[in-house]
């Protein structure tokens, strides 16, 4: 997909009421800021979030969750929702790239992706079943590195936590996670990251109780103001 949506910012009087947004947990900070902007731009609206793992949210949508918008952390999950006919016209609104995260003082002396093949170092990556793991496999393949991870985590936050606690020497996480973690971790970029860009789709839901509000929110996320908030959290534009 692309951002082909016409910027037909509807007059604010057309948008009212509550808008329920199901969003991947990694979007928490950025989306909460976006919601504040949105409510200011459209008085009379109130945005409610339910953050969770994309897969859980998809299950809920397929079970008839009374929500208006779904923002997923990857395209396959969005596809399970669109395949079920619960959402239409997903649009990619941000992308994210992998980055090496190491504890603040870098005790493992990690310099690049090659260190992931060192069995002496404690290495954490995502499991191949989850999006960040699939992406990691792609970059390893591209860089020709045979990774020797000690653990295959089910989400990025679990990786980051271990880095912060100095329990692993390096982990492959997203750039946004390194930004969110602040001083606690250091990020090391690497070239192969380009080969596995993760793309976040957003869509209005078929059963949305407030379709007008839903469309307006999606538009707002795609608008420059929305994109600026996402920028600040470390996301890249699609």
């Amino acid at each position: 997909g692309n951002t082909a949506s016409p910027a037909q910012t509807s007059p604010s009087d057309a948008v009212t009421g509550g808008i329920t947004v199901l969003a991947a947990a990694s979007l928490t900070d950025a989306f909460q800021a976006i919601a504040t902007d949105f409510e200011r731009a459209h008085p009379g609206t109130e945005v409610t979030f339910s953050f969770g793992s994309s897969a859980t949210l998809a299950t809920q949508i397929n079970q008839g969750a009374p929500a208006d918008v779904f923002a997923a952390a990857n395209e396959p999950t969005m596809r399970t929702v669109t395949d079920a006919g619960a959402a239409q016209h997903p649009q990619i609104f941000v992308t994210n790239t992998l980055e090496i995260a190491v504890p603040r003082s870098n005790p493992g002396n990690i310099t690049g992706l090659a260190d992931f093949a060192d069995p002496a170092k404690k290495i954490a990556v995502c499991a191949p079943q989850v999006p960040c793991g699939a992406a990691a496999q792609r970059v390893f393949a591209h860089a020709g590195v045979t990774a020797r991870p000690d653990t295959l985590e089910s989400d990025v936050k679990a990786l980051l936590q271990k880095v912060q606690l100095d329990e692993v020497d390096a982990a492959l996480v997203y750039h946004t996670d390194v930004v969110a973690a602040g001083d606690a971790v250091e990020g090391i970029t690497f070239a192969a990251a380009r080969t596995a860009v993760n793309r976040y789709p957003i869509a209005t839901l078929t059963g949305a109780p407030n379709p007008g509000g839903a469309a307006a929110f999606v538009d707002h996320v795609l608008s420059p103001l929305g994109q600026a908030r996402l920028d600040k959290a470390g996301f890249a534009r699609p």
Partner: protein
Amino acid sequence: MPTPIPWLLALPALAGLSFLVLPLLGLLIRAPWSNAWQVITDDEALLALRLSLITATVAMVLAVLLGVPLAWLLARSDLPAMGWLRAVITVPLVLPPVVGGVALFTVLGRSGLLGWPLYQLTGFAFPFTPYAVVLAQTFVALPFLILSVEGALRAADRRYEDAAATLGARPLTIFSRVTLPLIGPGVAAGAVLAWARALGEFGATITFAGNFPGTTRTMPLQVYLALETDPSAALMLSVLLLAVSVLVLVLLRDRWVNRW
């Protein structure tokens, strides 16, 4: 009589104690006390705490109301199927909570076994409401209550029930005026377990009830979100949850210990 404590018992007891207490101390040390006040007076956190306390308490009550009779049935009936039934009841303990949430959908979801007719008739569906939180918590907490109470029932001296019967008490009266008071400590222990388990419930709740502030976002979900955005705040929130529950437990315990 102050029994002297044999070392062979005291040593593993202390080992067990430190195994439980040291991690909590570690948590207290790691927690960011500098911005403690800010984290725990945050509106969202307080909202989540309130919701957690309310739902866990309701879930506990529900668990007691449903679980005590069921435990009684298990302990007192001699049907051969009871062995299997008992195992089936233990099973939600084993079920990963997220799967428990999915299982709840299959029955109580909008298109579930019972949820569908309900939705068709009234337009009401459980998921994503505080009721769903309570149901999810009850589902995971019920087995703890049942097993505690059943144990207490089996240990209780049934001859008191005989005595009550000869005094003219019908089974329900015996149950409420003799059996229940006699196994009071067992029910209390089971209720504490159930309350604590409900208070800490995460997986089934986020799956079946969603994660909406004020309606379904309980403390564990709040902690989960904080882990995404501000991990040290998450520790602080956990400490708050712990402090509140310790307080409640100590107050309850004192009440019970005085009564018993």
